[in-house]
């Protein structure tokens, strides 16, 4: 049982393919939607594969729900299909922050917009971390700016997990820092603005900041335990 792609009503148009999932555009009860299909990894043992895929699917749905509870804007989850391993989300109209920043790099920086976006990023991540949720893949392509409201929307909670450790929060921020440095260094120092906003919204700022300094020194995911 696969997903049909023959161009009729309720069919899917492939938008992107990543390492873990394919993203399609479709309609759900008349609303424009995104269908994320986690595909099975053929190299895994089938029973393990089925369990793992389902576990990751449920974890992602839970994390999206948890993020919303914390006041973080995410696309609305419309449906979860455990048989087809798909999640159906609201289609958020608007560019990814990555595109906006790349545009800044090419055509000059709109400082007002830049400040607003950076502040929203910092504020949003602060709320997320304070709630004990780590995004796991903080890059500018996982942040959308909604048309009209200019509201920041976080997507792709496929690598998210619950943690209150400052180490995990610091690594989350570090991933974002590296991504910004590699892709958007022409935009100036965005990370400082983001961290300033994060500091204002997060109540556990000092422990996270100390850890971030440590993580920067050594690179991530390396404990000092011999």
């Amino acid at each position: 049982m696969g997903i049909n792609q023959d161009g009729k009503e309720g069919s899917l148009i492939l938008l992107k393919q990543g390492a873990e999932a394919r993203v399609f555009e479709s309609t759900f009860v008349g609303m424009r939607s995104i269908v994320k299909e986690r595909f099975s990894k053929k190299y895994r043992h089938p029973s393990l594969d089925a369990k793992l895929t389902l576990k990751r699917l449920n974890a992602e749905a839970r994390c999206v729900a948890k993020a919303r509870c914390l006041g973080v804007s995410t696309p609305v989850l419309y449906a979860l299909d455990p048989v087809l391993h798909t999640l159906t989300f609201e289609y958020v109209e608007g560019p990814a922050v990555k595109e906006i920043f790349l545009d800044f790099g090419l055509n000059g920086v709109n400082q007002e917009l830049m400040n607003d976006v950076a502040a929203q990023i910092g504020y949003t991540i602060g709320k997320l971390h304070d709630g004990g949720l780590i995004h796991g893949d903080l890059t500018t392509s996982n942040m959308l700016l909604q048309n009209g409201t200019n509201q920041l929307v976080l997507i792709d909670f496929g690598l998210s997990f619950m943690s209150t450790l400052p180490e995990d929060k610091a690594v989350d921020l570090y991933v974002l820092e590296r991504a910004l440095l590699s892709m958007h260094s022409s935009c100036g120092n965005v990370m400082d603005q983001i961290l300033a906003a994060y500091r204002k919204s997060s109540k556990q700022w000092s422990s996270t900041w100390n850890k971030l300094a440590q993580v920067r020194q050594r690179g991530r995911k390396r404990t000092m335990v011999g």
Partner: protein, 171 residues
């Protein structure tokens, strides 16, 4: 009364207020003598049609895979409207009780005659679905679905309910 298309099937919805015979409706439904079969939803928990359509989608999917959790298609719709996996608790909360006066009626693939006979069954006044938003009990919805004020800042009540309906089985 309005008909919505959900996955190739039609869902007819009608909203009634000042319903006097919910006692009888409840008995008829529970003894399986209700003809034709309908779903009775507690309309004060419905701020908008969309979450009902999401629950309907889930219901039709379960039916097509023969994985219904409750006994009938229409009781499944009521069960799926809940944010809780507890079946009897969900049916009690999202369905009607003996003293319900504000009811949303739903039926899948209903013919015009069937909808007319349903209207006759209900001793109440039919009102427009547009009134759902104004008559919804926000406090009750927030309590039942455990929606924080923080969440309402970034989302509508209908979207918050939709998320919970969709993610229920993953929680």
């Amino acid at each position: 009364m309005k008909v919505f298309e959900v996955d190739g099937s039609a869902l007819s919805l009608a909203l009634f207020t000042d319903v006097m015979n919910s006692n009888e409706l409840l008995d008829a439904m529970q003894s399986a003598t209700l003809e034709p079969e309908v779903a009775f939803l507690n309309a004060s928990l419905v701020p908008d049609v969309f979450p009902v359509l999401v629950a309907a989608h889930k219901t039709l999917l379960a039916k097509s895979r023969e994985t219904l959790t409750t006994r009938t298609l229409h009781s499944e719709l009521v069960y799926n409207y809940s944010g809780s996996k507890h079946i009897s608790e969900s049916l009690k909360r999202c369905g009607i009780s003996k003293d319900s006066t504000y009811v949303l009626v739903a039926r899948f693939d209903a013919s015009l005659d069937e909808m007319k006979s349903i209207e006759k069954l209900i001793n109440g006044k039919e009102i427009d679905l547009e009134e759902l938003e104004g008559r919804a009990n926000q406090a009750q919805i927030q309590k039942h679905y455990k929606i924080s004020g923080l969440e309402l800042g970034i989302s509508s009540l209908a979207n918050a309910i939709t998320c919970r309906i969709a993610a229920r089985d993953a929680l």
